[in-house]
């Protein structure tokens, strides 16, 4: 049977505001599955032309798939969101790149012809499910020295990455972090972020945390606008004495969820759905687990090679800011300035937060908005590092690209 690979597009993406994990966080009394359910519902409300019956798949990522993040979230969240029972779903785990992998997995299915349209997203409630909850690493990792002992501790891997790039100093990392906060604050002031946020009602029964009763969350909790270098310089380096990685130049521990619609371009156009980005290529790559922050580099190399592009063809970058050093290593590798205007225009995870398996779609949603604003850009990429030594990159084409303009 003849088969044609189909163009895959990013139709739309939304997310919940991100919260700080822990007993004082906004989502402390909110279930993880409810977060992703509300994101899915908002996505459907925003796209009334998408008949829910036509959704072929729901892929939802979570790193810790137990409790309210267990029970095959893609399926249960679909039912809870009110999707028809005929719509199937499954769960995905690639740690930080969970939602990104949900997108690429369903995109592969769309390209192949298995799906016309699918939902992809992720959730991580790190307050309810701290990193490492319930894990049982095989003792062979250590006995056979398969990985360095630091590999399971992300902060330590970031220190290791500083070792690999001696020129990336703590000062550079802090400067990067300050800029991330500034860009995020500006993006908020310009209304760039709020348009893709789902308001979430939250309950608090603990008077020590603040006002009790029901409230409404409409903004990201982790942001620290006005952060200065001075503020950051004195912070502790918990992963290594005299180290470089601090709470200020890394993403925090966060709660949040994202969801996106992925479709074949034909389906999107036939159903009057927006086409915000066109998938060009995607790739995953493995690196030594103890320098997992290096992962985006080989992943991007592969994705560029597949697409027949070079880094110079990329006009916008959304790099997940698990750690400032990991972004800086990427930029240094490609000879891009720390403050290059193409990179993370709205700020990044250092400001917004990084609820592990949900973050991939946040990068895409932000890149999609930037594509709309910047039709002179043809290609952009979303990339992230992944625990246990991986990187993930997706290259996107701007459907709004206007050849009259600057082709970058």
């Amino acid at each position: 049977m003849p088969r044609t690979v189909r163009d895959v597009v990013f139709v739309d993406g939304v997310r919940t505001p991100f919260g700080k994990a822990g007993p004082k966080g906004i989502y402390h009394e909110t279930r993880a599955d409810d977060l992703v359910v509300k994101a899915i519902r908002e996505l459907l409300r925003r796209n009334p032309d998408l008949d829910p019956k036509k959704i072929d798949e729901v892929a939802i990522a979570a790193t810790t798939q137990i409790g309210d993040q267990g029970l095959t979230l893609g399926r249960t969240a679909g039912i809870l969101a009110g999707l028809p029972q005929s719509v199937p779903g499954y769960s995905i785990d690639r740690m930080c790149a969970g939602a990104l992998t949900a997108v690429t997995a369903v995109a592969g299915g769309v390209a192949f012809g298995a799906y016309d349209v699918a939902l992809a997203g992720g959730v991580e409630h790190m307050g309810r499910h701290p990193m490492g909850e319930g894990v049982d690493p095989n003792p062979r990792f250590v006995s056979e020295k398969l990985v360095d002992e630091s590999a399971l501790f992300m902060g330590m891997t970031a220190e290791n990455l500083h070792d690999r790039y001696p020129t990336i100093t703590k000062l550079r990392a802090d400067e990067y972090a300050v800029r991330s906060q500034e860009k995020a604050a500006k993006a908020y002031a310009d209304g760039k972020i709020q348009q893709d946020l789902v308001p979430i009602s939250v309950r608090n029964t603990n008077a020590e945390v603040g006002e009790t009763g029901w409230g409404l969350v409409t903004t990201d909790e982790p942001m620290r606008p006005g952060t200065t270098l001075e503020n950051l310089s004195g912070l502790k380096t918990p992963f290594r004495t005299h180290g470089r990685v601090t709470a200020g130049n890394a993403a925090g521990l966060n709660d949040g969820a994202t969801a996106a619609i992925i479709a074949s371009e034909d389906f999107a156009r036939e159903n009057n759905l927006p086409v915000k980005m066109r998938l060009v290529s995607y790739s995953f790559a493995g690196v030594e687990p103890e320098v997992m922050g290096y992962g985006p580099i080989p992943a991007t190399e592969k994705a560029l090679a597949q697409a027949g592009l070079t880094i110079d063809d990329i006009g916008l970058f959304e790099v997940n800011e698990a750690f400032a050093v990991q972004v800086l290593a990427f930029l240094e590798h490609y000879g891009i300035a720390d403050d290059d205007a193409r990179v993370n225009q709205y700020g990044g995870a250092i400001a917004f937060g990084h609820p592990l398996a949900s973050s991939g779609v946040r990068l895409m949603t932000q890149l999609a908005r930037q594509f709309e604003e910047q039709p002179h850009v043809r290609y952009g990429l979303t990339t992230m590092c992944v625990g246990f030594g991986m990187g993930a990159t997706v290259i996107w084409e701007n459907p709004n690209f206007n050849a009259e303009g600057d082709s970058k």
Binding site: V37, E42, P199, R203, N204, W214
Partner: protein, 709 residues
């Protein structure tokens, strides 16, 4: 301290055990830059199994929350205020325990006024107010929202009602006055009167919206978020709230008249609550809410001090609480599993029982009878009922297949009952027949199997007496219609052991029946009381009182149907049979009416014909009646009948037929449909002075179903 606060402080002192609801005030920024908003959350600190209620301290807490919001509204620091509930519950109204404690008219008045004074502040704030009915809302819970400017309701809401009239109150915190002014008299009456008197029917979220009570309807998954977005749009002017015009003309009066007709058909003037509510609704036509609130206060206070409400709350507690913990039932842990049920007999009653066991237990049910034709007919009945359920969408095809496969019929009891755990007989009501059936069953059934009898009047002990293992015989007396009436009298025979009894109660629970333990006494509870009651009516008729007078004498009780209509429902032959049984047991009190015997002999199905649409004495029956010449007044008839009932219940309690008078009332409510305002019957006999006249004492302790002293 404001007067309201003082009023509530005084009320709170009377009710130290109140489960107090907090009113949390939390601020939030509305979407679309609509401004700062104060959201009040009603929460008693427990999960949804203990719904949020309003006692005096709870009202005081809400009052204090409104104090805060009022200041903020005046200061311009908020653009609106809202009120919602904890997960799954909005608020379910006044705390009835607090109402039971009230001893004085003044105290009752204070509760009504206290609620009004707090709630109506929500309509007088300097900013618009919004109620978000997120979960169950009843009574005062509904009413607090009615005082707000706008309302939203969740599609997922399972229960929404103004159940006051059902209990014997009026919606007295604004319900009677505001609701008709919001949605019109006709719709308000359907909620306040019709639903309440229709077994306290609950509304679902969509109906709340369709009736116009709520201005917007949102799905449960993100109800509060969508409500707040809607709020922002209303405040921004993006969303305009349009309500339908209400008809203040003749339609209003017609609705009230219809309401009175409904009340008459249900309580026959015997309980005041519906009529008081209708009076207030009728007056609310003027749109003068304060006058309505004052009328509500007065009605509440009067009703709270009246016997009907106290009986209503007592009855409510019986069916809600006592029914769930049957008095005298052995420990649940003694119960044996029931994995297969046998039914002896395949007649109509047996087939109905088979269907009930099948649906609730979902285990194999096997019917037997004396010939294949009867067996086939019985199984055929059950199969047809399953198809009806399928047709109505009550069960799906898979469930229908499952149930159909589970019910079988065999002629050979050995084949059918060899592995049954619970075997019930519903054969002809004759001791020798039943004894023979049980002996046959015992010969083939496993040693542990329960042998249950659905006898309505034969001795369970005698039925068991000839068995090898009489300890496993229990009485399992259902009421017709089996699928509808909740009561199941579980009869302990002289030799019945605890394990068998516990198993019987376990089965009853799975059947979702209200099980009451009774001694093996003639006709058990309901039939004995009803037969004495009917017998006395029959006596006065036989002695010479016209049928019409005898029937009218009973109307003030507000029973669901007149005695002779009930006799028709039961069947005169069965009524006669039970009266004969009881006459043999207690010849001094139970007579066998020659007139009833004549009616049965003539093959009549009842005393009335309905040719004119109304019941009228059948001339053929009239011709059969041989009456004496003693003509009593209605009052005399009523006294005779009530005295007889009070005497019989007194004797039953002395005999230990049931544990307490409460069990008698529970039986009458759930087995005979006797109304809440009578509290079954003993609260009524107590308050009318009948108990003391007949037995020298009341049945119930003061305060249990009456104003405490």
């Amino acid at each position: 301290m404001s007067t309201t606060a003082e009023l509530l402080k005084g009320a709170a002192e009377l009710f130290p055990d109140e489960v107090v609801t907090s009113a949390h005030v939390r601020h939030l920024d509305l979407p679309f830059g609509a401004g700062r908003f104060a959201l009040i959350t009603l929460d008693n600190g427990f999960d949804h199994t203990k719904p949020t209620t309003f006692g005096p301290q709870s009202l005081a807490n809400l009052n204090a929350a409104i104090d805060q919001v009022e200041q903020e509204a005046i200061a311009g620091s908020i653009v609106g205020a809202g009120i919602t509930g904890k997960p799954f519950i909005f608020a379910v109204g006044a705390d009835l325990k607090g109402v039971e404690l009230l001893k004085k008219h003044d105290e009752a008045l204070a509760i009504g006024k206290g609620g009004h004074d707090v709630f109506k502040r929500l309509s007088a704030l300097a900013v618009p107010t919004f109620a978000y009915y997120n979960g169950a809302a009843m009574g005062g819970g509904v009413e607090v929202g009615l005082h707000c400017t706008y309302r939203t309701v969740s599609k997922a809401i399972p229960a929404f009602s103004l159940p006051e009239v059902f209990l014997g109150l009026v919606p007295g915190w604004g319900g009677c006055a505001i609701l008709p002014n919001l949605i019109g008299a006709e719709r308000a009456i359907s909620v306040i009167i019709e639903n309440s008197l229709n077994q306290n029917k609950q509304l679902r979220g969509k109906q709340v919206f369709d009736l116009g009570i709520a201005d917007a309807l949102f799905e449960g998954a993100d109800f509060l978020e969508q409500s707040l977005l809607w709020t922002a749009n209303v405040l921004n002017g993006t969303t305009e709230v349009v309500r339908s015009e209400i008809d203040r003309g003749e339609a209003w009066d017609a609705a009230v008249a219809k309401g009175r007709f409904i009340a008459d058909s249900k309580v026959h003037g015997a309980a005041p609550a519906a009529y008081r509510a209708l009076d207030i609704i009728a007056a609310a036509k003027s749109g003068d809410l304060q006058a309505g609130f004052d009328a509500e206060d007065a009605a509440l206070a009067d009703l709270i001090m009246g016997g009907e409400l106290r009986s209503g709350i007592y009855a409510f507690n019986l069916v809600q609480k006592r029914a769930k913990r049957p008095a005298g039932a052995p420990d649940k842990s003694l119960a044996r599993p029931v994995t297969k049920v046998g039914v002896v007999g395949a007649g109509l009653m047996a087939s109905q029982l088979a269907l009930l066991f099948l649906r609730r237990l979902e285990v194999p049910v096997v019917l037997t009878d004396i010939d294949q034709e009867r067996v086939d007919k019985g199984v055929g009945y059950v199969h047809a009922e399953i198809q009806k359920l399928l047709g109505k969408g009550r069960i799906n095809q898979d469930k229908a297949n499952r149930l159909t496969a589970l019910v079988t019929g065999v002629l050979d009891k050995a084949e059918g009952f060899a592995d049954a755990d619970f075997i019930i007989e519903a054969v002809f009501e004759e001791m020798s027949v039943k004894q023979k059936v049980f002996a046959e069953v015992e010969a083939v059934a496993p040693a542990h199997a329960i042998l249950a009898t659905n006898t309505s009047s034969l001795s369970v002990s005698e039925m068991a007496s000839k068995l090898q293992h009489p300890e496993r015989v229990v009485g399992f007396h259902f009421f017709n219609p089996v699928a509808i009436l909740p009561l199941l009298e579980i009869v302990r025979g002289e030799q019945t052991d605890d394990a068998s009894l516990a198993t019987a109660f376990g089965v009853a629970r799975k059947l979702k029946k209200t099980a009451v333990l009774t001694k093996d006494a003639p006709a058990f509870v309901v039939n004995r009381i009803l037969t004495r009651f009917m017998g006395e009516i029959q006596n006065v008729i036989d002695e010479g009182t016209p049928v019409v007078t005898a029937e009218k004498a009973i109307e003030p009780l507000g029973l669901p149907m007149s005695p002779l209509v009930l006799l028709e429902l039961v069947g005169p032959a069965i009524g006669l049979h039970v009266s004969e049984t009881l006459n043999r047991a207690f010849p001094e009190r139970f007579t066998v009416s020659p007139n009833l015997a004549a009616v049965v002999k003539a093959g009549k199905r009842g005393f009335y014909v309905y040719d004119s649409g109304k019941p009228e004495l059948d001339p053929e029956v009239a011709a059969l009646l041989v009456q004496g010449d003693v003509v009593l007044t209605e009052e005399q008839v009523r006294d005779r009948v009530l005295d007889a009932v009070a005497q019989e219940i007194g004797l039953m309690l002395e005999e230990g037929v049931v544990a307490e008078a409460q069990d008698i009332d529970l039986c009458l409510i759930t087995g005979a449909g006797w109304p809440f305002h009578l509290g079954g019957v003993t609260p009524y006999l107590d308050r009318e002075g009948v108990s003391e006249r007949v037995n020298g004492k009341k049945f119930l302790a003061p305060g249990l179903a009456s104003v405490p002293v």
